[in-house]
């Protein structure tokens, strides 16, 4: 035991302790929620009600319900009333079906000032449940940094002060794992939730959820990235959450029909073993498999989403990233995940920052990291991407927001809205890796221009207009945020359906509600507004369901079963949808079908929309997209793909572009595209049961069974 760990151990000061008998899990539920008030150091057990299970199911549904009851329309993200809720969902924790170990987090976001949710792997969620808790609800604020320990083996929860350094998440995860484990092998029974110093200094703080890797002998990290949940965590003076549970078995979730789960699991595991190497190679490359095709199809974000490809993209191609992953072995973030998409670069030596010259293990890079930190900033250097990825993770910065923030700053710099005097000497041109890395350190450490960058794109637009004379209209056009959240890393200009998939998403433009680019733009499977609207109803509802259950989306469509070749709606992967219905029934003993599955999601999805309304958002104006997400803002962008745009003007808009100035063509294209986006919104709202302002109708809420008086009261004000 190192001196440091010994010091940590002897410094532990218990501020509050709660003893309990861990609830037995019954059909996927513990039936209890752990409530912690950090202000008063109060720890309680709450019952999970029948209504919660029937209406909200679990995971994100539970999080939204608890948050709704905790806050008022006036609550701000940094008020003590705000909560962070972590809930895994009823299916989470089974070990026989891939992708069944996710946790869902819900809070009020410092970026959007409304409800945020995030889905994350790692062992914390399942261990929390098997320690007797369907959810962890944290409210209040401590006055000094505290750690919450949940000992599921001994039925003990404590709030403690511990002498530790919360600035580097990868070290903190290691140290707390070491502190809690009795032996090396025991480390797999520990999971830590933590963040780094970047979460204290920015609004884009994320949370790392650990899972101990016995082969590498390090605590690996998965990220709850979006929306500043790590910022809320540090604002509450939480340094870490630690759970310990050592009794994991295939029966821990105590399902109604274990044989059905085993059957379904064996079937898909066989598929993965048979087809993954010739399909998406998730086991070999993970999500970085998307880098090359995205560039080939002009969909990789380049230079703040101006373009979709770049001549230097080979520098961070799928194969280049693959060549950097070490121990090329399947790598899962939860037990039994045969799709095993996690990747790591071991013994990486950073060239900059506090870990310069030291060997570290980097989790990733995944597609979003390489596209956001790399191509979108015009940087095509794999070493830079890996180092930036490492520092974002250990500082606790969301890589997606950070990438979009730096790309936006670079475009402002190139347009003379910013200069070196403002940035403190950083020449933030596209492609300047050195300056971008320094900006990440500044964000992580709360220094210099990093303090401005850490405010996020929405607030920077205001600052750049008010303080540096930027044109507000131009900043609005190129600032890639909606609802206050930065866009994730796909170029959506040529897919109207994806434009809606992004900007209509409840929490802001994250692709986890709908990813329709190929279906729409390349395969042309959604040629009409009605087809796009149907897709923008079905997929967000279907994908919401993963968040109710504690499931990972990837084993749904990153492996394709043979039956898909003759399936009616192959894009839905019907065989896998049936697997999920079967799994839910096998765990809970209920008897839902594919329709009820969508209705489960619809209840929660519409409840979240109403929650946005309650917080002062959630209407049509908040579903507007920056024009950069819809079409070419600048003449340079138009001219880079002139043939394509001229052809569209001629064939789709009915305007002959010959003899027109580029400026006039940009304007004509803009009018056309914005008109189509508005039409799309109309059709989608109708399909979703909302009025023309995006408000769910009372009839729709009644049909869904969520017409509670407090919900109706919120909605009525908007009808």
């Amino acid at each position: 035991m190192s001196v440091l760990i010994e010091k940590m151990r002897s410094s532990r000061k218990v501020l509050a302790a709660y003893h309990y008998v861990p609830a037995l899990i019954e059909r996927g539920y513990a039936g209890k929620t752990l409530y912690i008030d950090l202000t008063n150091k109060n720890i309680e057990s709450k019952d999970v009600t029948r209504q919660m299970k029937d209406i909200f199911v679990g995971g994100k549904g539970f999080g939204l319900w608890y948050l709704w009851n905790a806050v008022t329309p006036d609550t701000k993200w940094n008020d003590p009333e705000n909560e962070i809720i972590i809930s895994p969902g009823p299916i989470a924790g089974i070990t026989q079906y891939p992708g069944s170990g996710k946790s869902l987090l819900v809070t009020l976001s410092p970026l959007t000032d409304s409800v945020m949710d995030s889905n994350v792997g790692g062992f914390f969620g399942p261990y929390l449940k098997f320690s007797g808790w369907d959810a962890l609800e944290i409210q209040g604020k401590a006055d000094k940094d505290v750690v919450v320990f949940i000992d599921g083996d001994n039925g003990r929860v404590t709030i403690e002060e511990v002498d530790l350094d919360p600035s580097a998440s990868h070290l903190l995860s290691e140290q707390l794992t070491e502190l809690m484990a009795e032996t090396e092998h025991d480390k797999k029974n520990i999971s830590v939730v933590s963040t780094g110093s970047g979460a204290e200094h920015t609004r884009v703080g994320m949370l790392n959820f650990s899972f101990y890797d016995l082969r590498r002998k390090v605590a690996r990290l998965k990220q709850a990235g979006r929306g500043g949940i790590g910022t809320v965590f540090r604002d509450k003076k939480l340094a870490a959450l630690v759970v310990r549970f050592s009794g994991l078995s295939g029966k821990s979730n105590n399902p109604a029909d274990p044989a059905a789960i085993a059957r379904t699991g064996v079937k898909i595991t066989r598929e993965i073993n048979k087809f993954d190497d010739t399909q998406f190679r998730m086991r070999q490359i993970g999500t970085a498999n998307l880098m090359t095709p995205m560039n080939d199809y002009d969909l990789l974000p380049v230079h703040n989403f101006k373009y979709g490809s770049h001549k230097d993209a080979a520098g961070i191609s799928s194969e280049v990233l693959r060549s950097r992953f070490t121990q090329k072995m399947p790598d899962g973030c939860w037990v039994g995940c045969a799709l095993s998409c996690c990747k790591a670069v071991d013994n990486f030596v950073p060239k900059t920052g506090p870990f310069k010259g030291k060997k570290v293990t980097v989790d990733g890079p995944e597609y979003e990291n390489a596209a956001g930190l790399g191509s979108n900033c015009g940087i095509f250097d794999a070493d830079y991407v890996i180092e930036a990825n490492f520092y974002c993770d250990t500082y606790g910065l969301d890589t997606i927001s950070t990438g979009t923030i730096i790309a936006f700053i670079m475009e402002c710099f190139e347009n003379d809205i910013l200069n070196e005097t403002i940035t403190g000497g950083l020449k933030l041109n596209f492609g300047n890796a050195e300056a971008a890395m320094e900006l990440i350190h500044q964000m992580g450490q709360g220094r210099g221009f990093g303090k401005v960058a850490g405010q996020g794109v929405r607030r920077m637009k205001k600052i750049f207009a008010e303080e540096y004379g930027g044109d507000p209209a131009f900043l609005q056009d190129i600032g890639m945020e909606n609802k206050g959240l930065e866009y994730s890393q796909y170029q959506a200009k040529e897919s109207l359906a994806q434009q809606g998939g992004y900007a209509l998403a409840n929490k802001g433009p994250q692709h986890d509600e709908a990813w329709l680019i190929f279906m729409d733009m390349v395969n042309n499977q959604l040629p009409t507004f009605e087809k796009k609207a149907e897709a923008l109803h079905y997929f967000p509802m279907f994908r919401t369901w993963f968040g109710l259950q504690g499931l990972c989306k990837l084993p749904w469509n990153d492996i394709i079963p043979e039956s898909n070749a003759i399936a009616d709606s192959p894009e839905k992967i019907p065989e896998h949808v049936q697997n999920y219905v079967d799994l839910f029934n096998a765990v809970t003993g209920k008897n839902i079908d594919k329709d009820e599955m969508i209705r489960q999601s619809e209840r929660v999805y519409n409840f979240q929309r109403v929650f946005n309304l309650r917080m002062g958002f959630g209407t049509r104006e908040h579903d507007a997209a920056p024009y950069r997400a819809l079409g070419p803002v600048t003449e340079e962008e138009y001219e880079s793909r002139q043939d394509r745009y001229d052809k569209q003007l001629k064939e789709d808009v009915g305007i002959n572009p010959e003899g027109m100035s580029t400026d006039a063509k940009v304007a004509a294209m803009r009018k056309y595209r914005q008109g189509r986006y508005e039409t799309l919104i109309d059709v989608v709202y109708k399909r979703r049961g909302w009025n023309e302002n995006g408000v769910p109708t009372l009839g729709h809420l009644e049909n869904l069974g969520i017409d509670f008086p407090e919900v109706v009261e919120v909605v009525k004000k908007h009808l």
Partner: protein
Amino acid sequence: MVIMVNGKQIEWEENLTIKSLLKKMNYTFPKIVVRVNGKVVEQKKWAEFKVPDQAEVQAHHLIAGG
């Protein structure tokens, strides 16, 4: 002398194979299911399969994405 590929009108040419059509469309993704007039054509036959004039071609990319 045209064919429809994923709903878009494309000039047909003599001896147009699936392989050359995908090249022409810049469809480089390795996992594409091609149907010609509703019938799946296996990848191993792409180099010799001649796409007839007036054909309706679907080239569905099996890409899962984010």
